[in-house]
C-alpha cells in the first residue's frame, strides 16, 4: 500500500494519505449522493495501514459540512479506529475547524462521544 492524494471538488473533500508519516488528511465539504464510493479507498487505506504498518496513525481532519451519508461513512472509519485502539494500536484524531461555525465543532463532538482513543477538537482563532 502507498500514499495517495485526491483533489477535492465542491461536494467531495481533498484527501491525502501519507503512508510514511502515518497521516490521513481530509479537508472540505462532503456531500456526494453516494458517499460509499468516495470513502471506500480511504477505508481500504486505513485498513491496510492498521494491519501492516505497525506505526501510529493520525487522522488530520479539516472537514466542514457532511451530509448524513458521509456521516455514516465517517462513523465506520471511527469504529475501525476504536477497534484498533482496543487492540492496543496507537490511533488518534485531530479535527480542526473555524470557531465561527460551531456546527462543525458539534458534529465532531458527536463523533467523539463514541470514541475512547485520543480525539482532539481544535477551534481556530
Amino acid at each position: 500500500m502507498q500514499s495517495f492524494e485526491t483533489t477535492g471538488t465542491q461536494s467531495t473533500p481533498t484527501i491525502r494519505a501519507n503512508w510514511e508519516e502515518g497521516t490521513l488528511f481530509m479537508e472540505g465539504d462532503s456531500y456526494p449522493e453516494n458517499s460509499y464510493e468516495q470513502f471506500r479507498p480511504v477505508f481500504d487505506w486505513i485498513e491496510a495501514f492498521l494491519n501492516t504498518a505497525g506505526r501510529p496513525l493520525l487522522l488530520d481532519l479539516h472537514l466542514l459540512y457532511l451530509n448524513t451519508s458521509s456521516i455514516k461513512a465517517m462513523m465506520d472509519i471511527f469504529d475501525r479506529l476504536e477497534s484498533a485502539h482496543a487492540a492496543g494500536q496507537a490511533v488518534s484524531v485531530r479535527w480542526s475547524y473555524d470557531r465561527r461555525n460551531e456546527r462543525v465543532g458539534e458534529l465532531a463532538e458527536e463523533f467523539r462521544e463514541d470514541c475512547s482513543f485520543p480525539f482532539a477538537i481544535e477551534p481556530s482563532a
Partner: protein, 189 residues
C-alpha cells in the same frame, strides 16, 4: 394607452409579474421546479450558499439551511431513482424563503406513491413528538443500523433535518388521480 398592458397576451398565460410579486411578498430567496440532477443539486446549493452569505446569515445558520436543502433534495433523488420514474415524474419542487422573524424555511416536495407518502407522514408526526434528546437518541440508533436498500433511506436524513429545525417539521400529502400523491415537507430553521 397600450392595450397589451391591460390585457395579458392570451398565448402566454404565465404572469411573470404577479409571480415575482408573490416571491417578493413571501421573501422567497430561491425556488426550483422540475427534474433535478445531481449536478443541479450542487449548482443550486452553490447559489444558496452565496445568497446566504449575501444575506449575512450566521455561518451555523447557513450550514443548517444548506444541510437541510441537501438532505431533502438527496432524499428525493434516492426515492425517485429507486422507483425508476421518468425524468419528469422524478422532479422536485424546492422553495427556500425567509420568515419575517428572520428564520429560514426550506420546503421540498415530490411525487410519491400514496402508501409511501402515508408512511413518511407518519414518521414526520412521530418526530414532531420528540424533544431534542429523544431525536438525538433516535438519530444515533438509525446511524448504527445497516445501510438500507435503495428503496428507503429517508430515515436518517429526515431525523437529521428534524434535529436541525427550530420547529416541528410539517408534512402534507395531496392525493392525485393516478393513485400517487404529491408529498411536501416544510422545515423552519
Amino acid at each position: 394607452m397600450n392595450p397589451s398592458v391591460v390585457n395579458p397576451p392570451v398565448m402566454n398565460p404565465i404572469d411573470l409579474f404577479s409571480l415575482r410579486e408573490r416571491f417578493n411578498q413571501t421573501n422567497i430567496m430561491l425556488c426550483f421546479n422540475g427534474p433535478m440532477s445531481r449536478s443541479l443539486i450542487e449548482e443550486i446549493g452553490n447559489a444558496l450558499k452565496n445568497y446566504l452569505t449575501a444575506d449575512q446569515a450566521h455561518p451555523a445558520a447557513a450550514t443548517d439551511v444548506f444541510g437541510t436543502y441537501i438532505e431533502l433534495t438527496q432524499n428525493i433523488r434516492h426515492y425517485t431513482h429507486a422507483k425508476a420514474w421518468s425524468e419528469q415524474d422524478a422532479g422536485a419542487t424546492v422553495v427556500i424563503s425567509r420568515e419575517a422573524d428572520g428564520r429560514y424555511v426550506v420546503c421540498a416536495g415530490n411525487l410519491i406513491e400514496q402508501q409511501d407518502g402515508e408512511a413518511v407522514c407518519a414518521l414526520v408526526d412521530q418526530l414532531a413528538g420528540l424533544d431534542k434528546a429523544a431525536l438525538k437518541a433516535l438519530y444515533k440508533e438509525q446511524l448504527r443500523k445497516p445501510r438500507p436498500d435503495a428503496s428507503s433511506g429517508a430515515g436518517l436524513g429526515l431525523i437529521h433535518v428534524a434535529r436541525t429545525a427550530t420547529a416541528p417539521l410539517q408534512a402534507t400529502l395531496h392525493p392525485l388521480p393516478d393513485g400517487r400523491a404529491f408529498f411536501s415537507l416544510r422545515a423552519v430553521i
